[in-house]
């Protein structure tokens, strides 16, 4: 099991910037050094691993120390003054529990776990609503005793009367079902004047487990939604608590409120606004999902939370949410002036174990160091961060059509769920993971790592597969800058403007509007784009406006999806933008941008391309210059062919420019390569690569305005063919022909009709 993990506070840095590194190391000490990552594939069939040591100020030995992650989201309100002199209390909310049988879960709590003291509205061990109260000696749990249904709304209310010692619990389902007895109340008494008061903050969806190095520890973590929580400093009658369910209440009830929180406010942010007038505002911790439907969602008043925010006044908390691991800093690296732009990693070594924390040195703003840029797809790496493909769903083996091979980091992540999930995973309650952060160790963003999805012999996916491209560039002495798409999102077209050519990675799948528009503007302003991958520019994502290093996806209404958002949760909480595939969003399909778009996927074996009609066009002569072969790429490190894994098809009806040329097309493919669902309205037979013509990768070229051009390969496996036979092969030559011409500033003439 891994004993070294780490992360950095930023992935992209320019000379003068400092990167802070946080390391968890269970060994007494470790050696830290910096390498430039050129080739990270350890397969014997691949060129030798090339990690170039770079002397750095941080080189040296450091003491190891364990650092842990406290996962689980909750809301925190610091309102000690609000509780001053309060002894009777009422807690209430509309709740939508998603794991009512999980065991004790705190919904609203002022509870100190260390002292065992406090008061809380809970999902009790029996799955029903309860109140828990303790003065540290006398502890009482009172529950309704009728388990709640998962994924149904309930009115939940509890109270304690300090004068009489009376406890009341009330659980009322929003919908009644025959045969389901889940409505009820319970009452009991405990000593009057029970001293439950404590120093814990008021928490939603957790109890207070103390503080650890600046981080609040949530315990008794609740899974599910909370809507319209209210806390009153009095023992209210059931009728009074019913009267507080809505958004308006009498002055009498308002006078007793300690807080009433409206989660429809600041959906894109982290605030929880108190609308009681007491100003007991709070914040969410570990990024629970916002912009989710509340108990009063109708579906008739619009589908976006901006249309009618009061119907989205809920937050969905998960016991495995994680935003910022919040580890202590172990060392900091200031990027020296003149440090070459590239992909780097801090290598941590101890007792034979090795770990990497990857980062990018970009050129100073406005001062490219090369005419070529490699566009580092950080957003997509974040989307796949710590994926659990191999350990969550047994059907992945049918996806792969080969045995499931797990690697040590996946074994670790399966048992250390606190490291958080990818955008492909489900939370522990079965809901889809909408957010992914890089402020935690990302164990699959490193050289030497293997993955499930990339076929053999290399078995690479994303980052490490992308080093086939960087090693190919360096083999031909092509200098290049490395820039990240996170910087592209922030800076837009200006980041690309001065490059003659931009090369993508193998799978640049996740794009914000800003990223998409910057690339589009680049290709329409004379820029040259080489898209060396498959299934790119596919999902729309959003970045958070105030919280760095976190992205959101809403896999709305179509596409090849790991999960489906509930109705009414199709719009990003971070921005209010409609989520889903770019091809559903107004002339921004990947075909519009790069001439091809996602058409099929399969992960067992790749296939070659064969010359297509466009190969004979004089406009494409430069691409195939010096290549006589009819068959292109019948070899490779990813599945033994240049076309495989995820494939893109040229299709004018989906947006491919009519003047674009299809130079080559792949196939036939294996039966494991299956046509995508977004093109299959009714499912039908004959949709697999052995029989379906649309299961293919098209290799496409087209000219763009101002003398620019785009070259697309439409295949994730393509990069694995570049290093084959020591970079001497027809795919490598073809790609080099394209690169050389694209680096030549001579404008591409636009063909005449």
């Amino acid at each position: 099991m891994l004993k070294i993990t780490g992360y950095a506070d930023r992935v992209s840095a320019m000379p003068g910037d400092a990167i802070r590194f946080m390391i968890n190391c269970e060994y007494p000490d470790y050696q830290a050094s910096v390498v430039r990552v050129v080739q990270g594939d350890t397969a014997p069939e691949a060129p030798p691993v090339k990690l170039v040591p770079v002397p750095a100020a941080i080189d040296g030995r450091y003491p190891g120390r364990p650092q842990v992650i406290h996962a689980g989201s909750f809301g925190r309100v610091d309102c000690e003054r609000g509780f001053a002199g309060v002894s009777s209390l009422s807690l209430q909310a509309m709740i939508f529990p998603t794991t009512p049988q999980k065991g004790r879960q705190a919904i609203l709590s002022k509870w100190d776990e260390a002292e065992g003291r406090g008061i809380a509205m809970i999902v009790a061990a029996d799955g029903s609503l309860g109140i828990e109260i303790s003065d540290g000696a006398t502890r009482k749990v009172l529950s309704v005793g009728k388990p709640m249904l998962s994924r149904h709304w309930y009115f939940a209310a509890v109270s304690y009367d300090a004068v009489t010692g009376a406890l009341h619990v009330h659980q009322e389902p929003q919908h009644d079902f025959p045969t389901i007895d889940d409505s009820g109340s319970a009452s009991d008494t405990v000593p009057a004047g029970l001293s439950w008061q404590n120093a814990a903050p008021l928490l939603f969806a957790a109890s207070w487990g103390g503080e650890d190095a600046g981080r609040t520890i949530g315990r008794a973590l609740y899974n599910g939604k909370i809507d319209r929580p209210r806390v009153s400093g009095a023992s209210l009658s059931l009728a009074d608590m019913q009267a507080l369910r809505g958004d308006l209440w009498s002055e009498r009830l308002g006078g007793a409120l300690i807080g009433a929180w409206d989660f429809s406010r600041d959906i894109p942010g982290i605030r929880m606004d108190d609308v009681s007038g007491r100003e007991h505002h709070g914040v969410v911790v570990n990024m629970p999902t916002r912009g989710v439907t509340g108990h009063n969602f109708t579906g008739e008043d619009g589908m976006c939370w901006k249309d009618r925010p009061t119907q989205w006044s809920a937050i969905h908390f998960h016991d495995d949410d994680i935003y910022d691991a919040g580890w202590q800093v172990d060392f900091s690296l200031t990027i020296p002036e003149g440090m070459k732009s590239g992909i780097y990693a801090v290598r941590i070594e101890a007792e034979g174990e090795e770990q990497f924390v990857t980062f990018v040195v970009r050129p100073p703003r406005g001062k490219p160091g090369s005419k070529l840029a490699f566009l580092f797809p950080l957003a997509t790496y974040m989307a796949y961060a710590n994926e659990h493909f191999g350990t969550n769903d047994g059907l992945v083996e049918l996806h792969l059509n080969r045995a499931l091979v797990l690697h040590p980091h996946q074994q670790f992540l399966n048992e250390h769920r606190e490291y958080g999930h990818s955008l492909y995973d489900l939370h522990s309650d079965g809901s889809g993971v909408c957010y992914s952060s890089r402020l935690r160790p990302v164990l699959n963003l490193r050289p030497k790592v293997e993955a499930n999805h990339g076929a053999g012999p290399s078995h690479l996916w994303l980052f490490n597969a992308d080093t086939h491209i960087t090693s190919w560039l360096e083999n031909f002495d092509q200098d290049y800058d490395v820039i990240t798409d996170e910087d592209l999102h922030a800076e837009g077209h200006g980041l690309l403007r001065d490059y003659q050519t931009v090369v993508t990675a193998t799978h640049p799948e996740y794009y914000t509007k800003e990223m998409y528009d910057a690339v589009h503007r680049y290709t329409h302003g004379g820029g040259r784009l080489i898209y060396l991958g498959g299934n790119g520019f596919y999902w729309r994502i959003a970045y958070h406006a105030t919280q760095p290093g976190i992205i959101e996806v809403r896999r709305s209404e179509g596409g090849s999806r790991a999960w489906e958002p509930p109705t009414g949760e199709y719009y990003h909480s971070f921005t209010g933008e409609y989520g889903g595939m770019w091809r559903r969003q107004g002339n921004r399909s990947p075909n519009h941008l790069v001439g091809v778009g996602f058409t099929a996927q399969g992960f067992d074996q790749s296939s070659p391309y064969r010359r297509a009609e466009g190969a004979a066009d004089p406009r494409a002569a430069f691409i195939l210059e010096g290549i006589e072969d009819e068959i292109l790429g019948d070899f490779g490190l990813t599945g033994g062919g240049a076309a495989g894994m995820e494939l893109d098809r040229h299709d004018v009806s989906v947006g491919s420019p009519p003047h674009s040329l299809v130079i080559a097309s792949s196939g036939p493919h294996t039966e494991a390569h299956v046509f995508v669902v977004e093109d299959m309205l009714f499912n039908f037979m004959g949709a697999t690569g052995d029989v379906c013509d649309k299961v293919r990768a098209d290799l496409v070229f087209f000219e763009t305005p101002q003398g620019g051009a785009v070259f697309s390969v439409g295949s994730i496996a393509y990069s694995g063919a570049l290093p084959w036979n020591n970079f001497d092969n027809n795919i490598s030559k073809l790609t080099l022909n394209v690169l050389r011409r694209f680096m030549d500033p001579t404008p591409f003439p636009m063909p005449t009709s």
């Binding site: 350890t42 969550n392 499931l404 091979v405 797990l406 074994q411 399966n414 076929a455 053999g456």
Partner: protein
């Protein structure tokens, strides 16, 4: 899984031929009957699924049984130095598990 299910999967093909086909080529396009058979036996849920843990990159894989989300996997006895041998070992175990058929190397 009953014997009649196996007959439905292989539809008159000689099982020995299909086994030999898999042993000769574990990955990629298979004959329709073999593909149906392995699709069926690979449909195991994550709890109880047979899989491989890579213990030396590109050199050594160990047979494991998955025990479900979040639960430690169980290391079984097999150690392999070729992925095809590991695939074959899993295939044999599943033929026993699903059809009570003993296959020999």
């Amino acid at each position: 899984m009953a014997k009649q299910d196996l007959e439905q999967l292989i539809q008159g093909r000689d099982l020995n031929e299909l086994v030999a086909e898999f042993r000769a080529k574990t990955t990629g396009q298979h004959s329709p009957a073999l593909q149906r058979l392995i699709n069926r036996i690979r449909s195991e849920p994550m709890t109880g699924k047979l899989a491989l843990l890579c213990t030396k990159p590109h050199e050594e894989w160990r047979l494991v049984q998955m025990n479900g989300r979040g639960k430690p996997m169980t290391l079984l006895g097999g150690i392999y130095h070729d992925l095809n041998d590991a695939e074959w070992a899993i295939f044999k175990l599943r033929m026993k598990r699903h059809f009570d058929i003993d296959l020999q190397d």
